[in-house]
Subunit: 232 residues, 2 copies
DNA sequence: CGCTCGGTTGATGCACATCAAAGGCTGTGG
DNA sequence: CCACAGCCTTTGATGTGCATCAACCGAGCG
């Protein structure tokens, strides 16, 4: 936890979230907020914690997870730079509201933590920010719905759709390397299936040269093949 | 399509959505809007239509559906009185934005259709309305996530959770009769499973006296049993 | 009075879960 | 610096929950 440096603020100002905002807009929007660096697998907040702040992802990636009755988790969303996490719960007027889900870092990440009071003072009344937030929500909602549509489809199709959806937004350049260090376990948790099933599909793709995975990266070599799989 | 009568407006003012709003708030929020009565299975708007208006459900119920690659639909949400449909897409600045999903009436319904221009004039700047909208969104999001959590659970558990979730909000009085005329097909579409599977589960419940269904209603007789099923 | 819609039942098969066992890699602490 | 633990991946054997297909019935409706 540290006070944002000028360099931090520069980086923050470049996020989509704040495009078109003036300097003073930004400084009031992030009033009282702190920069937090997270290690791999570190938890930002847990389901059930008091929701006293919300966060903007600056670097890296987080997964929003929800524990199931049985031990395994379900991944509800992958948050990448510019995403807001814990923002919806700020709208509940109740200051004792609890986070409904857990946010966990995937690889090293940096987030900006903004106190709830700043939310009600600056965000709730700034219609431009509200608009951006809703736009993020819209995307998130669309993706979940999209995923629900594929529920009955064969697993290959669902994995293909997930990878394509992520590569649309989350590739660094145009090389189709996912900027998220995505494990097969995480794909499984995101789709709600068993790890082994995911592995069986992806190993095949790996051998066929459709994707390429090492410890850190997941590269989509032949995206046409996945696209064909996706909509058939 | 007709201009709202005083009686309509009274009914509208009583929806949760407008609680705490003054009369003038309401009249500017529904400026230029029209009342539309829908018959059973009538479509309010289809995915791909130009989103020129959004709607508030006044009476009855709608299902928001998304067609899948194969013929069958997926139900994304059940909208009941007070719910806003087509609202998220209003935030996209693009006036040519298209509805991403289809809204279809379940039984006879009444909705209030509000033009997009009124949205940008009154809703986007009224933080109280924004708050209510976000609260609706929050609920919708929570439910979808909740459902995703149960993905790997046995079908009985998932149906139980769905019925309980609906009965929480949508029962007329405390008699646990769902106010939505819910068919087994719709339950199946909502959970993304086959009709026959739903029927096999519910027929059993019917015979065991846990639920009671006739053509129009679905009554939960023994809710404890469903609750027990849900969280085991 | 045929037609569509909702519900039901049974037979069969498959896609995926589950269980088990093992190897590589990373970080950590003695 | 080595040992150990935890995480990620892999592969195979076995089982099962649910999909699929097919056929049928009753009720409402134009």
């Amino acid at each position: 936890m540290s006070i944002p440096t000028n360099k931090d603020i520069q980086k923050i100002a470049q996020l989509d979230l704040f495009q078109g905002a003036t300097e003073s807009d930004i400084s009031s929007a992030i009033k009282g907020s702190l920069i937090k660096s997270l290690k791999h697998r570190q938890i930002l907040y847990s389901a059930g914690d008091r929701a006293e702040r919300f966060c903007v992802v600056v670097e890296g990636a987080l997964k929003l997870i929800k524990p199931t009755p049985r031990g395994d988790d379900v991944i509800v969303h992958f948050a990448t730079p510019g995403d807001v996490v814990g923002g919806l719960v700020m709208n509940q007027n109740n200051p004792n509201a609890l986070y409904p889900i857990t946010a966990k870092s995937m690889g090293p990440s940096v987030v900006l933590c903004i106190p709830r009071t700043t939310y009600s003072e600056s965000w709730a009344t700034n219609s431009k920010l509200q608009l951006r937030m809703q736009s993020l929500l819209y995307q998130r909602m669309s993706r979940i719905q999209e995923e629900k549509t594929l529920y009955r489809s064969p697993l290959q199709q669902r994995i293909a759709a997930l990878l394509i959806g992520l590569s649309d937004k989350e590739t660094d350049n145009d090389s189709n390397i996912l900027s998220i260090p995505l494990t097969r376990q995480e794909i499984a948790d995101s789709l709600g299936v068993a790890v082994e099933s995911v592995i069986r599909v992806m190993s095949e793709w790996n051998q066929a040269g459709i994707i390429r995975t090492n410890e850190k990266y997941l590269e989509i070599v032949n995206i046409e093949h996945l696209l064909r799989l996706q909509d058939e």
